[in-house]
Symmetry: C2
Subunit: 198 residues, 2 copies
């Protein structure tokens, strides 16, 4: 009888273990950082899940203040995975494999020439539709020629975005980052309260 | 022998179950949503960890476009916990206990009267220092008089913010929400791509 009971308890233990494993795996899949994924042609695949990463800041370059054609139209929502942010906050540089996503949104239905509109909270800017994405990836070997970071453009237009992106030329992206922010890990940390800590 | 083997397997199963339970608990502690915390006087304590919650959007009401004195100066970074966002996306309303944080930042060193400045990415607005916080809490019983939501102001100024906040009067906050967004769970969902889904 004792042995039977043990067998039953054992069975429950195994089942419970299995259930927990299953839950743990499910949770891990949901929250698991993906890192950069390259296809067979070396193109970067469109990141997923980034809207639930840690938000760093929201520069805004409205078309209305840029002769109708901002280089990055118009809000820039910038995200990074929590584990990579934590390394940055501890060391001052991002670890290998860091992906930084800048997703654009238009401004919401402008009524003033500068792109702003009036709402109960005041005159200003409000997020319109999603409008494209730029991504940087840190890989010191793969992107040695551009200070260890690769730059990718998935289109500056409403969804759907490109499914994969070829590395942008240095003149398109990395050149400007190298000219202005080479000393801060090729990243415009001065614009992000989360990275400045204030 | 078979029974012995079973007992050993059972033991491993139990140990594995225990280890997994322990890991699951540890993970839960790290990521555990806190929900609203009220002190003995019924004041809402300053939320913590919210900068790593899910970001919803960034309305911007610059002082430069609001006679030098925006009601909410100036960027509004809005965050909600992932589990509450998921319920909203499934049901169209936030669950009891939802906390929505709106943290303000100033704009970065304006050089134009409208509060904007020029950077390599274009003319526009960039996040300056953190500048205060407003919080809403859903609790249909506690805040029955204001459509189930309580409104709290932790100051509109640089850190440190108030450690706790008394519920704001209806005329200060809830009145405007009730007038404009009573039908969308007292929340300005029209400004947040994450809630609109586009």
């Amino acid at each position: 009888m004792k042995k039977c009971l043990l067998a039953v308890v054992a069975g429950v233990g195994l089942i419970a273990g299995g259930a927990l494993l299953s839950n743990t795996k499910a949770a891990a899949v949901k929250a698991q950082p993906t890192g950069p994924v390259f296809d067979a042609d070396g193109k970067l695949k469109l990141p997923t899940g980034y809207r639930r990463w840690v938000f760093l800041g929201a520069p805004l370059t409205p078309n209305g203040l840029n002769n109708g054609k901002a280089g990055f139209p118009e809000y820039h929502h910038v995200y990074v995975e929590e584990k990579n942010l934590d390394v940055y906050l501890k060391t001052g540089s991002f670890p290998e494999g860091t992906v930084i996503v800048k997703e654009l949104t238009r401004v919401l239905d402008p009524t003033f020439p500068d792109g702003s509109r009036s709402e109960p909270s005041g005159r200003g800017y409000f997020n319109g539709v999603y409008n494209g994405m730029d991504v940087t990836v840190k890989d010191s070997k793969r992107f040695a020629k551009t200070n260890g970071w690769g730059f990718f453009n998935f289109g500056h237009h409403p969804e759907p975005y490109a499914e994969a992106s070829t590395e942008a030329s240095a003149s398109e992206c990395a050149g400007c980052h190298a000219a202005y922010v080479a000393k801060t890990d090729m990243t415009w940390v001065q614009f992000y309260p989360m990275l400045r800590g204030k």
